[in-house]
């Protein structure tokens, strides 16, 4: 069962990421590269204390949020 207490900061990070990602006026290309790099960074960043996760899921989910916000709501140079 999904334990919300472990993933709550990740959900918040995703939402904030979408809000800020929507303000990128250039489309983010090479999404796969961003995801791989974010996982590598998140592994070295480590999870918050008391969160027993192998990597900083908050970081990964905020990058995913930024990319999603950019692809769905942003990417328009006015």
């Amino acid at each position: 069962m999904l334990d919300i207490s472990l993933y709550y900061p990740s959900i918040l990070a995703f939402i904030i990421g979408v809000f800020i990602g929507a303000k990128y006026r250039m489309k983010i290309k090479n999404i796969f590269g961003y995801l791989v790099l974010s996982i590598v960074i998140a592994y070295f960043l480590k999870a918050f204390p008391y969160y027993n996760l192998p990597l900083s899921l908050t970081f990964v989910s905020s990058v995913i949020g930024i990319i999603l916000g950019n692809r769905v709501f942003g990417g328009k140079m006015s």
Partner: protein
């Protein structure tokens, strides 16, 4: 329109002013925050716990300082120095809400641009992580907001007026207002629940305010306060950067136009 704004401003000034005065009249170190830091041994001694106990007020003060700083930079470098319409006529700028977005603003080399864009994405993500981990790791709203604002500054420095990350004026206004209001309202809610302004309540009707592992569930509203501060600092520093960079553009433009006139 103006009368409504005046009314709202008056009521909010009265509510927040009265609640701060009330809480000042029976001031205690907030027990909620101390509990987090003392019970779980995140900090080594009681001095730190006192500092952390007052941290919410401290951050509140920081926010107000930032508001004043941004307002002063707005007064010095903002609209009072130059009027939009006058500028647009002088520099034949395109019709847009963003009076800063003038054409031909300098850009850096492709190498810097190639690195600046992904770096700004990861800086924003790191800023978000710093904001959300403020209650258990070093960092917090102020630092995270500053990181996100520096991602904007990096992007603006590298790309000039074609900056991929761009917070327009209205967006910054909204962020600033949402951040400040969330902070103040959470303080008032704390007063209703615990009796003190900015009281750290951890659950509402047996539902935890911030679902977290059981050791740190006492964080309560601190993460939300951090998010509010993060939004506020992000908006404040971006506005200051935006005003100062704009000043540089204006001076360059004036020099160029003077050169043309002298020829």
């Amino acid at each position: 329109m103006n009368s409504k704004r005046d009314l709202v401003a008056g009521i909010s000034f009265f509510v927040f002013g009265a609640s701060i005065l009330y809480s000042l009249s029976n001031m205690h170190v907030n027990p909620g925050v101390n509990l987090v830091y003392l019970t779980h041994y995140i900090i080594p001694n009681y001095v730190c716990s006192v500092i952390f106990g007052w941290r919410a007020y401290d951050t509140f003060g920081e926010c107000l300082v930032l508001v004043v700083a941004v307002m002063v930079s707005w007064v010095v470098f903002g609209k009072s120095l130059y009027d939009n319409t006058y500028l647009k006529e002088l520099f034949k700028a395109p019709e847009t809400d963003d009076y800063i977005t003038l054409k031909g603003w300098g850009e850096y080399t492709p190498i810097i641009k190639f690195l600046a864009f992904p770096a700004s994405v990861f800086m924003v993500a790191l800023g978000i992580v710093t904001i959300l981990g403020g209650h258990i790791t070093p960092g917090g709203g102020f630092q995270g907001g500053a990181l996100i604002a520096s991602a904007l500054i990096l992007s603006v420095v590298a790309f000039g007026s074609k900056s991929p990350l761009w917070f327009d004026h209205k967006y910054l206004e909204k962020l600033e207002a949402i951040g400040a209001l969330t902070y103040l309202l959470l303080g008032v809610v704390g007063m209703f629940i615990g009796g003190y302004y900015l009281f750290i309540f951890t659950s509402f009707d047996n539902i935890p305010i911030f679902p977290a592992p059981k050791e740190i569930v006492t964080a309560g509203i601190i993460p939300y306060l951090n998010i509010a501060v993060g939004l506020k600092v992000l908006a404040g520093l971006s506005t200051a950067a935006f005003l100062l960079s704009c000043e540089k553009v204006i001076i360059e433009r004036i020099e160029k136009s003077e050169e043309i006139l002298n020829k």
